[in-house]
Each structure stands twice: as structure tokens, then as C-alpha cells.
């Protein structure tokens, strides 16, 4: 079996083993999973479609806020709240996508950032709905059990692990599908894809909305983990960190976002206990990654060999 399957198996085993660790690590691991999902959603756009979205925190936050509101105000159960959360982020993505996907490159970056800021501003100002600067605290853990009761850190971790693993597998399938390769073609040359016969805008829009749905799912998990959501979750700095996770891990790869999320979450947690200057170190890391490892960690680890298709050759004349 190839090295990829081996790595995935090890990762899977490690992920399950976390359940035996102390609660602090379980919490950390849950955070890694949540941000891995956010990074994966962003990677679909950045790494595979070539669209650098700089406002993804908006969908993350929309999912979180929507889930929080229906839980706190309307006493909705977990699954309903999760559905509402994803619906909210997906609808926001559907609306914003109409505006953003007509552009590309720098302009796409600017417009997604702008839309992200609109959402942040709304969360900040619409105090009656969002609690404004104070956010919405007191979101209870889901009231069911998945091998473990959800109010236990382990139980919630398993839930997150399940959600993220399913998403990962689905995404892995999608990027190897005809649709996924069409996205890569769009990344490489939109004009060529058009003249080949692809409805490019439709693909970009579909990728965008899918991405926002997953980002919303990540936000839902996050608000239930922390019991709290605030405008910070929607801020452009959150969007930037998600982007760094994608690049640091290796954009355009399946494992990259997971590696990137893990690296960044662990780094932040470790560094912030050791020094107060972890933001400085993070900044230097950004610079170093761009200059010396643009393929990210995954890019460094595996020598880039294109997938070989061992198809039967043509009949020799």
C-alpha cells in the first residue's frame, strides 16, 4: 500500500488514541479538528479552484452564530442547530458567491474580504441579535451521547472526529472526480476551460457554496466546543489564519489543511505559554513559508510526483 494510505492509517490511529489523553489534549485535538475542517473548506477554493478567499471567517461565524441563536433563544436540539448553522452559512455563501465569483485573483480577494467585514460589522452592531461585542455566551453542549456523553470532552471530540473524517473522505472523493479536476483546470486556466466547453462560472459558484457550507459546519462545532461565539470569530484575522493553515500545510493537497491546522493550533498553544511574542513568531513563519516553502509542509515532505495512470498503452502499429 502506498505511503499515503500508511500516513492516513497512522493519523487515524493517533486520532482515536487521543481519547485516552488528558482533557487538555482532548480539547486541543478537538480544536485541531475544527480548524482542519475550516482549512479544508478553504482549500477547496484556494488549492483546487485557485480562488483566494480572504473572508472565510464570515461563514465560519455565520454557522456559529446561527447555531447559537437557535439553541439559546429557541432551545433547539444539537442536530437542528447544526442544520440551521450550515444553512445560514450556505445561504450567506450563496448570496455572497453571486457577488464574488464574477472576479478572480486580487479582486476576488478584495471582495471576499469586504464581504467578510460586512458580516463582522453586522455581528458587531446588531446587538439585539448577536449580543454585539459581548457575543453569545452560555451555549450548552449537545444533550446526547456518542459512546460518551457530549458534555464530556471526549464525547464531543469523537463527534468532531466523525464529522471531520466524513468531510475529509467526501472532499478526497470530490477532488479526484471529474468535477474536481474541472476545478483544477479552472485554477490553471479559466479561459481554456471556457473554450473547451465548461460553464466556468457555475463551477466556481458550486465550489464556493460547498466551501461555505463546510466552513459553517466548522463554526457550528466551534461554538458548541467553546459554548461561546463573538465577533472575533468573524474577524479578518481569523480568515487570515485559516489561509495560513492551508498554505502552511500545503494547498492543493488533501492532507495539507489538516497538517496546517494541527501545526498552527499546536504552535499557538505552545508558543503562547512560552512567550508573549508568539504573534511575531507567527508573522516570521508566514514570511518564511512564502519565501522558502510555498508548497507547505506536505510539499516539503513528499517529492512532487504526479499521479501515474498505469493505463494500457495504445496498440503499436
Amino acid at each position: 500500500m502506498g505511503p499515503r494510505v500508511g500516513a492516513a492509517t497512522i493519523a487515524g490511529l493517533a486520532a482515536l488514541a487521543v481519547v485516552a489523553a488528558p482533557p487538555f489534549f482532548v480539547h486541543l485535538a478537538t480544536l485541531v479538528l475544527i480548524f482542519a475542517l475550516l482549512a479544508m473548506s478553504l482549500n477547496l477554493l484556494i488549492g483546487y479552484t485557485g480562488l483566494a478567499s480572504f473572508g472565510h471567517a464570515a461563514y465560519f461565524g455565520a454557522g456559529a452564530y446561527a447555531a447559537a441563536v437557535v439553541t439559546l433563544r429557541y432551545h433547539a436540539g444539537f442536530w437542528l442547530a447544526a442544520a440551521v448553522g450550515m444553512a445560514a452559512s450556505g445561504l450567506l455563501g450563496a448570496l455572497f458567491g453571486l457577488l464574488a465569483t464574477r472576479s478572480r485573483g486580487v479582486y476576488f480577494l478584495l471582495i471576499t474580504m469586504a464581504l467578510g467585514q460586512v458580516t463582522w460589522g453586522l455581528a458587531y452592531r446588531w446587538v439585539s441579535l448577536t449580543g454585539g461585542d459581548n457575543g453569545l455566551p452560555g451555549v450548552p453542549r449537545p444533550a446526547f451521547a456518542l459512546g460518551w456523553p457530549m458534555d464530556d470532552a471526549r464525547g464531543f471530540y469523537l463527534l468532531a472526529l466523525l464529522a471531520v473524517t466524513i468531510s475529509l473522505l467526501v472532499l478526497a472523493l470530490v477532488v479526484e472526480s471529474p468535477f474536481g479536476y474541472a476545478l483544477r483546470g479552472i485554477r490553471e486556466s479559466e479561459s481554456r476551460m471556457r473554450t473547451l466547453g465548461y460553464p466556468v462560472w457555475g463551477y466556481k459558484y458550486a465550489a464556493f457554496v460547498t466551501s461555505t457550507l463546510l466552513a459553517g459546519a466548522s463554526g457550528v462545532l466551534h461554538v458548541f466546543l467553546n459554548g461561546f461565539v463573538s465577533p472575533v470569530d468573524l474577524h479578518v484575522s481569523t480568515s487570515a489564519q485559516a489561509m495560513l493553515m492551508v498554505i502552511l500545510g500545503g494547498s492543493g493537497t488533501i492532507g495539507g489543511p489538516v497538517v496546517g491546522a494541527a501545526s498552527l493550533v499546536l504552535l499557538q498553544n505552545v508558543l503562547s505559554t512560552v512567550t508573549r511574542r508568539w504573534m511575531l513568531i507567527l508573522g516570521v513563519l508566514y514570511v518564511l513559508v512564502v519565501l522558502y516553502a510555498p508548497g507547505g509542509i506536505v510539499g516539503l515532505l513528499r517529492r512532487r510526483r504526479p499521479r501515474a495512470w498505469p493505463e494500457r498503452g495504445p496498440a503499436r502499429p
Binding site: P178, R184, E188, R192, L196, G197, Y198, R307, P314
Partner: protein, 247 residues
Amino acid sequence: MTALRLQRVTRRFGGVLAVHDVSLEVPVGIRLAIIGPNGAGKTTLFNLVSGEVLPTTGRIEALGTDITRMQPHHRTAIGLGRTYQLTNLFPRLTVLENILLAVQALERTKYVALRTWRAYPHLFERARDMLARFALWDVRNVPVAELSYGEQRELEIALALGTRPRVLLLDEPTAGLAPAETQRVLALIRDLPRTITVLLIEHDMAVVFGVCDHIVVLDHGEVVATGTPEEVARDPRVQQVYLGTRV
């Protein structure tokens, strides 16, 4: 039947008339060369036909359908295909992946998101045939960015043929190619069935004379002369356009 019809097509960019009042009737099966000095509007003409640029005024019809305002991907579905003067491939994808994208472009499989490519062997068969035809089988797993210029130019044409076009626009297919490669491209064009109409932008007169039935000469966006290669070669207006000699 007419493969392509342009009626008084004009394209203005700001103050510049890139294409001015051009009318053309292109019969099915013809090999038509479009020649002219740099800046004559040849590539703009192709862009108007492919839909990447819309005409300011005028009408364009392809294979019986009015395509004047039609989006590029719909034109391809009707049967148009083109190559680019500046190689326009998918650099980080392999040769095979490039061709697969072309081959699936007009099929419904291109929308499938939850099964891998391997589930569609017919795409691979078509890709295999294309790779063989263009002698690219051996480099099928090489990222396009690593191909030689000649190989890239051949892939450029292979992609366009992947959608089985009935009207094929080739933008300077032999530019920058070594003589042997040029001959290969020439042979390729000659081998195309007469069910396919070919329009060719070319600077290499040997290619034009070797393959084309008819020539249209553009200068400053306007049609200056048309005719068979022999007629055009003798036409003093054409000499003037190219050499600037006053008669």
C-alpha cells in the same frame, strides 16, 4: 452549407478599431488561412468567433446558429474549437489530465463530483487514442510545464480536437516550431477530415501554401484581399501591406 459567417463585424477598443467591418463566408470543409501583419486584428477575429470578445456591431453565425452574443462554452457545444497563439494549457496538470479535461468537456460526466475519474474508462480510451495520435503517450504523466515547447504546441491542438469540433480555429500553430515539428503539424492538419472546417492564422507561407485552399488578408482590422493562394500571392495590394511598397 456555411460553416462560419461573419456579417460586417466590428470590434472597437476605446479609440482603436481592432476589427473593422469584416464579412466572411466560410464554406464547410475549407482550409482558410488568415494572414496579415502584426496588429492586423487576426487574433481579435478569432476571439470574436470563440466568444472571448463580443463584437461592437455585426453578426456572427456558426453552423447555422447565431452565435453573436453566445458565451464561449455554448459555442464549443455547437462545434467550435480553438487553439491559442500563446500556449494556453493546464501547466501543473499532467498531459493525460489535460486531455481528459478536453475529452470530457462536452459530456455530462464533467459534472460528476462523487465518483473518481477511474469510473469512466471510455474517457481514458478516447484520451489514449488522442495521446497516440499526437505521439504524447510517453509523456502522459509529465506535468505540462515540463514539456518542450514543441510538445506543448502539439498538446495545444490535441486539446482543441478533444471536443470534436466541426469548426477549428488554429492560432499560429507552427509559431516557434522546429522544421520537423512544423511538418508534423502540417501532416496533422492535412489528415483532418473534410467534415471539419479549419481556419488558420499563420505567418509561415510554406504552411499556408501547403495546406490552405483559400486566404483572407487582414490589415488594420479590415479585409484587404481574399482568394486562392496563387491569386493572393500575385495581388499587389497584399504586397503593399506586407512590404509597404507603393505601386
